[in-house]
Symmetry: C2
Subunit: 325 residues, 2 copies
């Protein structure tokens, strides 16, 4: 900027005012400064401006995995863009250490706020960041033990809807193949399933299968659910990826075993029969998250809230298959 | 930091040396400074450190869409993480203006380098950034008109492999349903297809269908390809999303029409018949991009290169369906 001022023959302060679009600078001076900027190839460094203004116009998003279908992240991006905010996102790979590294990096860059899909039970590292003024909203899962804004799906009601639907279609041996219970949503969904089985009086040991989304584990779970003296006639899955894997291992059995998947996907209407799903309202989750984050950025004293977004059962065929006789 | 120095009763310089893990500070002083940092809740601002050191340990990735399956971005993240670099990514939505906004924002934040999936023909806005030292590597598509490192798939060879494979299985009326030719890869693939048809002597007008990935447009393309006096007996698609849409509109015809999709996906082995694909080596693309970017960051005078990564035809059933008689 010193070079620009010298080249334009103006005061350093004038260069600064032109760069920051101060309307009090006369047009002749503006033009001289702009010409000098172009001649010298001067590139403003946004970080210095951010340091001065205290805002960056940027939100961070720390999510499970960037390069995977993530309709909540899509809705977050859309809502942020509508508010003229840029989202810079990073993957946490559902690894506690990586989450901490990503979130702390975003804090040190002074992003205006962070949308976090939290993993793990210990978020103690957030305490000093929150005390220092971090604006944070958790999506999909809460930040356990800390008072943080949060947008969740109604996981419990989703599983109950699926279970009731299958019972209504004549099933009484319904298996659940879910995600790793280290993850909050997986835990909530498995817990809701346990509640359904307890209320309905079925056997739990051969019907509940949770663990990592890993093809071999899921093959085993499908095999275990469909074998034995009283095999399952219906399966509920814990997320869209699990639906894919369960279908893969069901193979030709897919037309005989009823299936309801948690989470809708473009895949769901490609299959024969099309997949009945518990659909999350991902648009509502994303836009609610951005609304809450903006409210918190605008007023750090805003009351902390947890918003639970309803889910919807969409019947398409696979969940309406009657029990094999 | 001034407050920390006062609280610890040390010089400001000592606080700075402790924060930056300078090993020449004695353990007693380190402990006093750390205690003062904890008491005062001091949070280091990474941006000031970045300004001083001139590096950020961060790469930007500006890609078509974050919240979609993107195995190249996944490989980019993995390779960057192995080199202790964090990737902060943003979507360009294949919108020229948004790409410019995202890339310029990353430049102003002085990310160490940027991985870009470029859209559009005019990247003039990059000229001053490159002149100012931006390290950039383009993936999937080149930055047309500028001398920029680039990692591409062998699009031409992929289409030729698919076409030859279908001809070998008895087809001579092969349709292509591709993406918008505004996009480099779509243009390359369509061009390669035109070359195949020219060499083979078939009709082009009813066989080549390119445009936006939009369900209605694709339904029309499928209908047009399969109707008329000489309907297509085989279809090649331009990307994985198109494969999904084409399958959706083929419906029951999917067992009679041969299909080869550009791009592999988890979906490909879920279908009946499983999908024959032209698979890109996304791992190689991602890790090559990071290698090239790191080389350029280390030495800005490194010669600019374009690396073309081979593709592979994977036969699974759908591409081996004989022509309906």
């Amino acid at each position: 900027m010193v070079d620009v001022a010298r080249e334009a023959g103006v005061a350093l302060r004038t260069v600064s005012r032109v760069v920051n679009q101060d309307s009090t600078v006369g047009p002749e001076l503006v033009q001289r400064v702009r010409a000098a900027i172009a001649d010298l190839g001067y590139r403003p460094d946004e970080r210095a401006r951010h340091l001065r203004l205290g805002v960056t116009g940027t939100l961070g998003a720390a999510v499970r995995q960037l390069s995977h279908v993530n309709p909540v992240l899509r809705a977050v991006e859309r809502a942020a863009r509508a508010a003229d905010l840029m989202v810079l996102a990073a993957s946490t790979e559902d690894d506690e250490n990586l989450e901490r590294h990503v979130v702390e990096s975003m804090c040190r860059r002074r992003f205006d706020g962070i949308v976090l899909e939290p993993i793990g039970d210990d978020h103690g590292y957030l305490v000093p960041e929150l005390a220092a003024g971090l604006s944070l909203v958790a999506v999909d899962r809460p930040v356990l033990g800390l008072d943080v804004d949060c947008v969740l799906s109604d996981n419990r009601s989703g599983i109950e809807k699926a279970y009731r639907h299958l019972v209504r279609h004549g099933h009484d041996r319904i298996a659940y193949i879910g995600d790793d219970e280290r993850i909050y949503t997986a835990r909530e969904r498995a817990m809701a399933f346990r509640g359904c089985v307890a209320a309905h009086g079925g056997p739990l040991d051969t019907m509940l299968h949770t663990g990592q989304v890993e093809s071999g584990r899921i093959r085993e779970a499908v095999r275990a659910a469909l074998s034995g003296a009283a095999p399952a006639t219906a399966i509920v899955t814990g997320n869209a990826q699990l639906s894919v894997e369960v279908l893969r291992h069901l193979g030709a059995d897919a037309v005989d075993v009823a299936l309801i998947g948690f989470d809708d996907s473009e895949l769901a209407t490609l299959l024969r029969p099309d997949l009945t799903v518990v659909a999350q309202d991902t648009d509502a989750i994303g836009s609610t998250a951005i609304d809450m984050l903006r409210a918190r950025i605008a007023d750090p004293a805003t009351e902390v809230r947890t918003v639970t977004v309803p889910v919807e059962l969409i019947t398409r065929g696979s969940g309406e298959i009657p029990p094999a006789t």
